[in-house]
Symmetry: C2
Subunit: 249 residues, 2 copies
């Protein structure tokens, strides 16, 4: 792995794109005591990626309404008429975790160039997971609006339990990363209360329960958008990691 990174760096050095002291930085936190130099890659190597969290024509009225509800709270107007940051922040979403991180496009090619994020692996809008996440730093909360497409079927006419688990892992994992830096899922305990009809829009609400050393405890509820129907309740545990956890398998 390290030799491959070295070869890629040398290739860029030959092309005059990197200075000799530069080194690629993976997406994970740099361990204490490690000294690394940030790569300054030329911008033409990074085409603008598609942000899947933005509205598209497949979104139904409920998905759009909920999106606008939270989006309107990302920027608020002061009494003096000036705009400032609101309590919520929309998180952009791409189809590869590493691809758009610093140096990630090269690191990801080493691992598997065709790899795509599981929740964004289908191109057809509206067919699978349509979702957007918002975080609220003050309240230590994260919400996700999910429109479940026809390719997510489990029980006839309803969303697969694994597809629901996938979104719960995605939302709680993103929330834990936002709170604690890079993490890995250690436990998901999901209670399924009521099936989710295919095509419907639901709300996932993730809350921090507590942090203890490397552990981040999160709870998550999946409900109808008006909160009247409870679909699942989850407690999740995440462990903070460094790159060595992944590279060590």
């Amino acid at each position: 792995m390290a030799r491959s990174v070295g070869r890629i760096c040398k290739g860029f050095q030959r092309l005059g794109l990197l200075s000799k002291q530069t080194q690629l930085i993976p997406f994970t936190r740099v361990p204490v005591g490690t000294v690394r130099t940030i790569v300054t890659l030329p911008s033409f190597l990074f085409p603008q990626p598609r942000d899947f969290s933005l509205p598209n024509p497949s979104w139904g009225s409920e998905m759009t309404r909920m999106y606008e509800h939270y989006e309107s709270q990302c920027e608020v107007e002061t009494e003096g008429g000036q705009k400032q940051k609101g309590p919520w922040r929309r998180l952009p979403s791409y189809n590869r975790l590493l691809k758009y991180a610093t140096g990630g496009v090269y690191l990801s090619k080493m691992i598997q160039s065709k790899a795509r994020l599981f929740t964004r692996n289908i191109r057809n809008p509206g067919a699978a997971f349509e979702y957007v996440l918002f975080v609220n730093k003050e309240e230590q909360k994260c919400v996700c609006i999910l429109q479940a497409g026809h390719l997510l079927e489990g029980p006839p006419g309803h969303v697969h339990g694994g597809a629901i688990a996938t979104m719960i892992d995605t939302v709680t994992g993103t929330h834990a990363t936002f709170l604690s830096g890079p993490v890995m899922t250690a436990n998901l305990n999901i209670n399924y209360r009521r099936p989710i009809p295919l095509g419907s829009t639901v709300l996932l609400e993730s809350c921090l329960e507590k942090k203890e050393g490397r552990k981040t405890f999160i709870t998550c509820r999946v409900t109808s958008t008006d909160g009247s129907k409870l679909h699942t309740e989850t407690s999740a545990l995440f462990l903070s990691i460094t790159a060595s956890h992944l590279l060590g398998g």
Copy 2:
């Protein structure tokens, strides 16, 4: 829903495809005391579906080796040289649960004609979930051989926790259905011990823990194919259902 089924039945009666006393049977168990007549639909309406549990060129050597290991135990030879059923049985797998059940192709069209089973929603062989399930009635066990494709990525270079949960739900749910008839997932408690590298082949082993009334308790371990590496441990609970549970949302 019942009126839609009636309309479809009347349509077939007009076409002379059904007798007037026939009635569509959903995939779920018929409640005690209910009298229903089995539909005998003409065979040309049912083209041969693709069985996704059979080998394809995307399968690697490990996937193929494990498949042959269990497949060879589905039919064994007696001392007299005659062939008879072995301890294991391969379960066929289609891309829609209802489509190939009795009457299911029509019932599924009423719900959503484009719907596809979440674990079989990608056509490109080897890109996502390649898997095959075998059950052992005597030992009340179920095994699944899984080859995780490049579209299942979560942490860089590794399988998404939700994709692992999806396969665990699929295997334990199929096993519970085999043991108890139609069920819905009530709880999944998954401990993630070690990440699964993208592209690797792993083994899921599902065992019956106990049955109590409507409840079926299952445990499931995901390991490397030689059993030396433990990836996840799960306890799962399933509840027996009738069609009304789904139709009632």
